[in-house]
C-alpha cells in the first residue's frame, strides 16, 4: 500500500537520545499506513532551549543549519509539540535574510506534530491500542496554546480500539517542565508537577499520554520517583495498525 505521502522524521534531541523507541514506532507506523519515511542525516536539536533562554543568535545558527536538511521534504513529522512549535512559530522570525526567511516559512507550513500529521495529512484516527485499558491525556502547552492543537490527539485517543480515554482534571495546565525552568527553579517546577501527578493518579488511568518529550521527561521522571503504577507514554507508543506490527 502506498499513499504517495512522504514524511521526513525530525526526531529531536530528546527523542534521539532518550526516547528512540518513539521514533522507531513512528517510522514503522507511518510505513504501515503507506507513508514513505526518511530520516535526513545531520540532525541535532531544533534550538528551542537556546531560544527560550534568550540565546537568539545561537538559536538562529541552529535553525540555519536545520533548514537545508529538510529542503526536499514533502512533510516533516515531529514527535514533540514544542519542537514543532519552534520550527513553525519561531524559525521564520529568526531568519534575517529574505531567502532564508522564505525557506523557513515554507518549512513551517509543511511541519506537523505527529497527531496532526496522522489526522490532517494521512487522515486516519482509527488505531488499536498497544496497551489496553484506561488512558488520560496531558495537553502540552506548546501544542495546545502554541499551535492551537487540542483536537487531533483526542480524536485518535477517542477512536483508539481497546483504550478508554478519560479527561484529566487540569488537562491544559502546565506540567512544570518549561525547559531550563525545571532546573532554574526546581522547587517550583516540582510543586507544579506534584499537582499534575495527583490529578493524573486520580483518573485511575493506566497510561498518561502526551505528545511532547519534554513533558514526558518531567511527568515520567516524577511518576518513576514516586513509584507510581501509571505509565507515561508517548502517543506513538500506543498506536498499532490492525492489532499489531
Amino acid at each position: 500500500m502506498t499513499t504517495g505521502i512522504r514524511a521526513s522524521l525530525m526526531v529531536t534531541c530528546l527523542g534521539d537520545l532518550f526516547y528512540p523507541e518513539v521514533g522507531v514506532r513512528i517510522v514503522r507506523l507511518l510505513r504501515r499506513l503507506g507513508v514513505e519515511v526518511d530520516f535526513p542525516a545531520g540532525q541535532t536539536c531544533c534550538g528551542l532551549p537556546l531560544f527560550n533562554s534568550g540565546y537568539h543568535v545561537e538559536a538562529a545558527a541552529v535553525a540555519r543549519r536545520t533548514l537545508p536538511l529538510f529542503r526536499g521534504s514533502q512533510h516533516v513529522v515531529v514527535p514533540s509539540g514544542s519542537c514543532a512549535w519552534m520550527v513553525k512559530h519561531e524559525y521564520p522570525g529568526l531568519m534575517t535574510e529574505p531567502s532564508l526567511r522564505a525557506e523557513a516559512e515554507a518549512l513551517a507550513a509543511r511541519t506537523y506534530e505527529l497527531s496532526q500529521l496522522l489526522v490532517k495529512v494521512v487522515k486516519r484516527t482509527r488505531f488499536t491500542s498497544a496497551i489496553p485499558g484506561r488512558v488520560t491525556y496531558h495537553d502540552s502547552c506548546h501544542l495546545r496554546r502554541g499551535l492551537g492543537e487540542s483536537e487531533s490527539p483526542r480524536a485518535i485517543l477517542r477512536d483508539l480500539d481497546g483504550a478508554e480515554l478519560v479527561e484529566l482534571p487540569g488537562h491544559d495546565e502546565c506540567c512544570g517542565f518549561g525547559g531550563s525552568f525545571a532546573v532554574r527553579l526546581p522547587e517550583v517546577s516540582t510543586a507544579i508537577l506534584d499537582k499534575k501527578l495527583a490529578n493524573v493518579e486520580a483518573t485511575g488511568a493506566r497510561c498518561l499520554v502526551a505528545c511532547d518529550a519534554g513533558c514526558l521527561m518531567q511527568m515520567g521522571g516524577g511518576l518513576r520517583r514516586r513509584k507510581s503504577p501509571v505509565r507515561p507514554v508517548h502517543l506513538a507508543e500506543l498506536l498499532e495498525v490492525d492489532g499489531g506490527e
Partner: protein, 469 residues
C-alpha cells in the same frame, strides 16, 4: 518590597513551605479561574470584544499625547486640576503638596496599585498624614503591615483564620473566622474614618478623554465614599489608562470584571466628573488627577509596549502555575505574576528582572487568559534575550549555553554526545533511569528521575530501520 536581598529562588522556596499560603492560594485562584471561565462561556461576544479592546488600546497608544491633552482640557473644564508626574517621586511630591496646602491629616484610600507603585502610604505617614485603606483586602494588609500580593485581591495570601487572628489582635477580643463577621467589623471601624477624612485618594481604572470622566471599578462601595465624602479627592492614574470615548469605555467594562472576578459587571462603576458643582449635594471641593508616567511613555516605542494595554485585571496571575504556587510576595515588587514581571522591568529596568524573567515555564496560560491578549511569554523571552546580550545573565550560564550552541551546530561532534553520555552516566543508571546526579544536574534529580541515554539512539538504529523497508 520584601527581602529583595534574598535570591528569588529562595523566596519562592520559602513560599512553597508556607502551608497557609498554599491553602489560601489554591482556594482563591481555583475559584477565580472557574468564575472567569463561566463568565466568558455565558458571553459569546467576549472574544470579539477582547479583540476590539486591544484595537482600542493600540490606537490610543498611537496618539497618547493627543488623548491626554483632551483629557486634561476636559477635566480642567469641569473644575478639576491635572498634574503630570514623570516619576514616582514627582507623584509623591504633588500629592504631599496638595495634602499640605489643604491641611489634610487623615486620608482614606480606595484600592489602587498606582499608589502602591509610588509607595504613597509611607510618604503620607512621613508627612504627618495618616492613610487608611478602605478596601477590605487593603485594610487587612495595612493592619498586617504588608503589601498587596495580588493586583485585585491584595490579601489573597491570607486565610480567613489568619484574618480573624489579625482582627482579634487589633481589637483585643475574640473574633470568629467568619467572612461576614469580619466584614462587619471592618465596616464599623471604617465608617468614622470616612466621615473624618480630609483627603480621599483613589486610583483610576480608566479616564475618558472626550468627557474628562475618571472611572473606578469597585465592589465594596468604599470607592464612592472616598470620592464623595472628603473635601479633596486625588486620583492617581498611569497615563496609559486613558480611553478616547464613552463607547470605548463600554467595551472595557464588558470584559474587565469578567476577567478579574467573573462578574458580569463589578458592583460599583463610579464615574467621577470633576469636583462638586454649585447646587450639587455631594462631592469634594477639589478634584485632582495625577497622571503617572514613571517609565510608561518610554515603552510606547519600547519592547514592552504591549504591556501598556494591561487592564490590571489579575487574570494572568490566577492562571499562572508559578504564581499559583508562590503567591505575590515572593516576586518582591509591587506588581506580581506574569504581567508583574513585565511591569517591574518597565519601572526598574530589565536587569531588575534578571531572575524573575525566568519565573515562568512559558506555558502561555497568561496570554490565553489576558482580556487584551498581551503576549506575555514573548516579552519574557525578549527580556531574557536582553539580559544575555547585555551580559547581565550569569557568566557560567552563558558559557554553558554558548557551548551547547556549538555542539548543536556541529553534527560530527553531536554524534559523540550519546557515547560520552553513556560513559558518564554508567555509575548512576539503575533500571534504565537515573535517581541521583552530581553538580548542576542534581537540580533535576532532587525530585525526578532522569531517563538514561538510550543504549542505542534513534540515529544509531536508523540504518537497521532502513533495511526493514
Amino acid at each position: 518590597m520584601s527581602e529583595l536581598s534574598t535570591p528569588f529562588r529562595e523566596r519562592a522556596a520559602h513560599a512553597l513551605d508556607d502551608r497557609f499560603l498554599q491553602q489560601a492560594l489554591t482556594i482563591a485562584t481555583t475559584k477565580f479561574i472557574g468564575l472567569r471561565r463561566e463568565a466568558f462561556d455565558a458571553f459569546p461576544d467576549g472574544d470579539a470584544l477582547r479583540d476590539r479592546a486591544r484595537e482600542i488600546k493600540e490606537a490610543t497608544l498611537q496618539r497618547l499625547d493627543q488623548h491626554l491633552e483632551q483629557l486634561i482640557d476636559n477635566v480642567e473644564g469641569l473644575g478639576g486640576r491635572v498634574h503630570y508626574a514623570d516619576t514616582a517621586e514627582d507623584a509623591r511630591r504633588i500629592i504631599l503638596d496638595i495634602a499640605r496646602r489643604t491641611g489634610a491629616r487623615l486620608a482614606v484610600k480606595s484600592k489602587s496599585m498606582a499608589t502602591e507603585e509610588i509607595e504613597l502610604n509611607e510618604a503620607l505617614l512621613h508627612a504627618g498624614v495618616t492613610p487608611v485603606e478602605t478596601d477590605l483586602g487593603e485594610y487587612i494588609i495595612q493592619l498586617a503591615h504588608e503589601r498587596p500580593s495580588h493586583i485585585i485581591a491584595p490579601a489573597i495570601h491570607k486565610t480567613k483564620g489568619q484574618v480573624a487572628e489579625l482582627f482579634a489582635r487589633e481589637l483585643g477580643r475574640e473574633v470568629a473566622a467568619d467572612p461576614e463577621e469580619l466584614t462587619r467589623i471592618a465596616r464599623a471601624e471604617l465608617r468614622q474614618k470616612f466621615l473624618d477624612a480630609d483627603l480621599g485618594i483613589t486610583g483610576a481604572n480608566f479616564a475618558v478623554a472626550s468627557t474628562g470622566t475618571v472611572v473606578l471599578v469597585t465592589n465594596e462601595g468604599n470607592g464612592r465614599m472616598v470620592t464623595s465624602l472628603p473635601r479633596v479627592h486625588v486620583a492617581v492614574m498611569g497615563v496609559e489608562k486613558v480611553v478616547p470615548s464613552m463607547s470605548d469605555l463600554v467595551v472595557f467594562l464588558a470584559i474587565l470584571a469578567k476577567s478579574a472576578t467573573g462578574q458580569k459587571l463589578s458592583s460599583y462603576t463610579t464615574l467621577v466628573q470633576g469636583p462638586r458643582r454649585a447646587g450639587e449635594l455631594e462631592g469634594p471641593d477639589e478634584f485632582h488627577l495625577v497622571l503617572l508616567d514613571n517609565g510608561r511613555v518610554r515603552q510606547i516605542a519600547g519592547q514592552l509596549r504591549e504591556a501598556l494595554s494591561c487592564l490590571r485585571c489579575g487574570a494572568c496571575l490566577n492562571v499562572c502555575p508559578v504564581y499559583r504556587q508562590i503567591g505575590g510576595h515572593a516576586y518582591g515588587y509591587t506588581y506580581p505574576g506574569p504581567i508583574g514581571i513585565l511591569l517591574t522591568a518597565m519601572l526598574h529596568g530589565g536587569a531588575a528582572v534578571k531572575d524573575l524573567a525566568h519565573a515562568s515555564s512559558l506555558c502561555g496560560a497568561c496570554a490565553e487568559a489576558c482580556p487584551v491578549r498581551i503576549d506575555i511569554p514573548r516579552m519574557l523571552i525578549e527580556l531574557r534575550k536582553d539580559n544575555v546580550e547585555r551580559a547581565v545573565a550569569p557568566g557560567p550560564e552563558r558559557v554553558v549555553f554558548k557551548a551547547l550552541a556549538r555542539l548543536l551546530t556541529m553534527p560530527t561532534l553531536y554524534r559523540l554526545a550519546a557515547p560520552v553520555g553513556r560513559l558518564l552516566q554508567r555509575p548512576f543508571v539503575r533500571d534504565g533511569g537515573i535517581r541521583r546526579l552530581p553538580l548542576f544536574f542534581g537540580e533535576w534529580t532532587r525530585s525526578r528521575d532522569l531517563p538514561a541515554v538510550a543504549s542505542r539512539t534513534f540515529s544509531e538504529r536508523w540504518a537497521e530501520l532502513e533495511r526493514e523497508r
